[in-house]
Amino acid sequence: MSDRTDRIREIARKWLADGAVEAVVGWAEGTLGNRTAPVLIRKAEEADRLVFNEHCINNLTTYLKRAPVKGMQHVGIVAKGCDIKALVGLIQESQVPREKVKILAVTCPGVQGAGGTVPVKCRACDVKTPVFYDELAGEKLESTPDPDARTRELEKLDALSAGERMAFWRKELDKCIRCYACRQACPLCICSRCIAEKNQPQWVETSPHPRGNFSWNLIRAYHLAGRCVECEACETACPANIPLMLLNRAMARTVKEAFDYEAGKDPEVPPPLRTFHLDDDNSFIL
């Protein structure tokens, strides 16, 4: 890992010194042993604050939608393969111009989830060596994705009856406190004013009761259908430990099955819900 850190610093330093970017968003040492913290490096001499290790869980592309990065003309961003998928989505949706961002990709053997667990995204990872970048740090790694990692938990829920599934979600969503950390952490939740914050009319009730929680969590997942790149930022941020990724992965599965589409792969392809085919599945419509 330390050679990746060195290489990241080297590239960031060069970009900053050359004036190729105004700043580099990366990870720095955290305030706790098992954490790193997002950092904005504006000067070449500060590049040594950048680090890379198994605690670099944050998807830094989420800073592209926030001040001050949003207002910058050229910005460097340190990103793992999974994070870059979000960037692909943002470019695809014209949220971020490709030429604005210089991608400092880093090969990644996997990060550490809560309690030292291996995140599903790492088990399913097909981008240990990123494919879309400007510079690459770290030796190339071969991806060995577990083909069932993403669907194993979904299938357990599929096996239940509708009523049992609703009971499952009712229990999980009762924990929701409507802090919207999921939305705030998500790089692809890009609305300047979220549907949950609109009150004329108020489609989504804001109080954390079952009715509002169901509506919010459902619409959050729906708005990410065909867009979510499964970076797990939402689930990691959730203070109530709701398994949000189950919803996101269920959506991704549907989109793959119905439209043969995977999010975050190709910035040139139109997103699945912004296009259609004349011969799309019609079997469920009377």
Binding site: T31, T36, A37, A67, A181, Q184, S207, P208, P239, N241
Partner: protein
């Protein structure tokens, strides 16, 4: 004064017995990689391995509470008062930083206007606190705000796990002494003052590296505008996890939610980290950017609240440090303020 001890294994039984006397039981249990205080959990599932992720706040100030119901009838409206159905409750093995949050927020709920919802719950809640032999989490900093891992603040009964097996029990209030018999049934011995002192010292020693934050208020009062705010808060994504997990954060929203002509007015958690929190109808927002909102949180805890109520609005539980998704540490920010104050900056 010596106090009784019991076996650590008896704690679940005590919890069960306290519940058996007709109390709603809240205790920490494991859910996935973390602990949570949960209502109605099996006493046998009691897990004391670390600090739960949620605070005990939700059992006194629920995340969503109905304050009245209404029903529109033509151009008239019936408005009904709501009194929460609160029965006796025991929060069993609340950590001292959680127990200590209650005396901190009590004056807020009672200055001039008394909030009956909080007060009804408070009166009905027995706090059996479980002291920390050693700080359970890397993020802990209770000693920095004048508390300690064996603080008695806000507790009716304090359990002190002297070692792996023996737990000393201190009865601190009348409410605590009223349930003494429940504990006595499992008494196996006594602990003397020396043992309890040693226990307290061990806890305090585990946090010896934490700073005293006695100069923070002075610094904050003179550094409303300071580059520190923007420097430190770059990572903040405004998720509000810090405020919602905090045992002392108490801000709320009031919303009406109806089905047809009837509905409820609900009081729900809100937080200073959200841009809508202070947004005026005109579109003007006094705290329009995240660094201002983060500053407000620090100011409220370490300057505003102490000015108003004489207490720091923080018990050093460290949840906002440990669970911040972007590792923005409140302790780091206030410790920096302390350092600068010490250096006269």
């Amino acid at each position: 004064m010596p106090c009784m001890t019991l076996e650590a294994t008896a704690l679940s039984k005590v919890a069960r017995d306290l519940a058996g006397q007709g109390r709603r039981l809240v205790l920490p249990v494991r859910e996935g990689p973390e602990l949570f205080y949960r209502e109605g959990a099996d006493p046998e599932a009691l897990d004391l391995s670390t600090l739960p992720k949620n605070s005990i706040k939700e059992f006194l100030f629920p995340k969503c509470e109905r304050v009245l119901t209404y029903r529109q009838r033509g151009n008239d409206v019936d408005v009904e008062d709501v009194t929460p159905a609160v029965g006796p409750t025991v929060i069993f093995c609340a950590r001292p930083c959680d127990a200590a949050s209650l005396p901190v927020v009590e004056p807020l709920w009672n200055w001039d206007y008394k909030d009956k919802f909080f007060n009804l719950r408070r009166e009905n809640t027995l706090i059996v606190a479980y002291a920390c032999r050693q700080a359970p989490e890397e993020a802990c900093f209770c000693v920095s705000v004048g508390l300690s891992p064996s603080s008695e603040q806000g507790a009716d009964v304090l359990l002190c796990p002297l070692d792996e097996h023996r737990v000393a029990v201190k009865f601190l209030t009348d409410a605590g002494r009223q349930v003494q018999a429940v504990f006595e049934a499992y008494k196996t011995g006594e602990a003397d003052d020396a043992a309890l002192d040693a226990f307290s010292q061990e806890g305090a020693a585990s946090l010896a590296h934490r700073k005293k934050l006695d100069k923070v208020k002075g610094w904050l009062d003179t550094h409303f505008e300071d580059p520190l705010w923007e420097e430190k808060t770059f990572p903040c994504i405004g998720c509000g996890t810090c405020t919602f997990l905090c045992p002392t954060c108490h801000c709320f929203d009031i919303q009406d939610e109806s089905v047809f002509d009837g509905g409820s007015r609900l009081k729900s958690w809100d937080g200073c980290q959200f841009s809508l929190f202070t947004l005026h109808t005109s579109g003007h927002n006094p705290r329009g950017v995240q660094s201002q909102r983060y500053r407000q949180r620090i100011l409220h805890k370490y300057s505003i609240y102490p000015s108003k109520f004489g207490k720091i609005l923080c018990t050093g539980c460290g949840r906002c440090v440990a669970h911040c998704p972007v590792n923005l540490s409140l302790y780091d920010v206030v410790a920096t303020a302390q350092e600068r104050a010490e250096k006269g900056e």
